[in-house]
Symmetry: C2
DNA sequence: CGAAATATTGACAATGATCAACTCTTGTGG
DNA sequence: CCACAAGAGTTGATCATTGTCAATATTTCG
């Protein structure tokens, strides 16, 4: 679709030049009053929460093209932290600029809303995993989800992808212990489902994995969205554009 | 705050007259192409997902003043179902009307976005529960969350509230088995934390419960939101208004 | 090379699931 | 108003998944 010149201009000019955040550093800190919104341009990050005794739950993985801190920025609910899983390029938009979008460029505002809705959908699937899937199914589901999302942004070749996530992080993602994650990965390898080595994953039997965890890609595979209105279509395409044409945007 | 006459008019006229949905009936069906958005005016509902083998995970509880099907309506991702926990009054808005809001009444559009953001925050907390809290902590957390939310809409008196949720449903909410839910509730009673009888709950030791589950009410207690801009303030107040003045709105 | 982080494995413990029975409530029809 | 059925709650016994502890590779990187 065509962005209007205005919209295009906004996307190009609104964000800072991307800054580098190194692996392990925090991008957003939970209780901070930081009111900027960040767009991940390259690298992986993850959103997480800590309990007072140190237990950690990772909410989800942030991939290139995803926003971070939207909620915190717009509504002051900085309820979780975000840290870089590997070296990341991050550009920053003042929250006010995004708030202003609602009055000025409604289609972009809707694209933002779409982005949060998509995130909620992924959270919901993750929640089902933690509540009702066992370790094996859960792990399968996570790997498929990441694979699908990486495909959308062209970061998976030949069923393989880089995987900058240690088993300890996997444990905090999946609500399991490190030891059990290790065993589950071994089981998946043993069954010929995946090829796993520190730092990379290859999906060997996608079909079988799909069945094991009842994977439903509706919430990821944006192309399959039933699109009913112009504004919806446009919103989607804007976001697509953000993904594909990162160097030009924000 | 003051809604503009236009905004007020929209809220009053956009929704259908409320319809009654009886306990157990579905309000939204997962795979349906229904593109309307619903506002719960009275009663409780819950959003849930099913796995093919019948396992069910309840995503969250919908209380009066909450929207249902926003995502599905706006973006065609009808990825979960909703059913009535008891008899509900539900009013309906065509999704298109909400989509149009973005171009016409941006402050209301922002209020909608705020509403989805708040929901995501609650999902995130729930996710932490399932991933990193044990049965006892999880149950405590859920009860506190519901209590807090009910306080906001004036449906809790004296630390007590109606609780139209069977133990089987609690199990699907908490990712536990019915049997274990039963034992956990008993443990909470034994410890003098709550008073529980089919259909109602009383919180006896809120402070102790808070500590047990590391409850953080930031995402619920809207009054404590750090409000930085006019538009934020207005968005919040509109939503507040929706809660308090239900008969007049939507 | 050596330290630190990460991965792997075994033994054992614990949380929570499953199975099966039984009780209590509630609502319905006779 | 009672009888009964259905749903909901309760409890005990046993099982299984997953966690914890501890030790040992293995990799990474300065």
């Amino acid at each position: 679709m065509k962005l209007t010149p205005e919209e295009r201009q906004w996307l190009i000019s609104a964000g800072s030049d991307p800054a580098t955040v190194y692996a392990g550093e925090e991008i957003i800190h939970a209780s901070s009053a930081d009111t900027s919104v960040h767009l991940l341009k390259s690298g992986w990050a993850c959103r997480f929460k800590l309990l007072p005794d140190g237990r950690r739950q990772i909410l989800n993985v942030v991939l290139p093209g995803d926003f971070m801190g939207l909620r915190a920025g717009l509504f002051g609910i900085a309820d979780h932290s975000v840290f870089a899983l590997n070296d990341c390029q991050v550009s920053t938009v003042p929250a006010q600029a995004i708030a202003d979008l609602f009055g000025v460029l409604p289609r972009l505002a809707m694209a933002i809303t779409w982005s949060t809705a998509r995130e909620e959908a992924m959270l919901a699937e993750h929640l089902v995993s933690l509540g009702r899937r066992n370790a094996y199914e859960r792990t399968a589901h996570l790997l498929l989800e990441l694979w699908k999302r990486l495909q959308v942004i062209d970061q998976s070749v030949d069923r393989s992808f880089d995987f900058p996530i240690t088993q300890e992080l996997l444990a905090d993602l999946l609500g399991l212990s490190v030891v059990h994650v290790n065993r589950t990965l071994r089981a998946l390898r043993r069954d010929g489902m995946i090829d796993y080595a520190t730092g990379s994953v290859r999906i060997i039997r996608p079909r079988a994995l799909l069945e094991i965890c009842a994977f439903d890609s509706a919430h990821i595979d944006t192309n399959e969205l039933p699109v009913a209105t112009d504004s919806k279509l446009e919103a989607l395409e804007i976001l697509q554009a953000k993904r594909k044409l990162q160097p030009n945007l924000l």
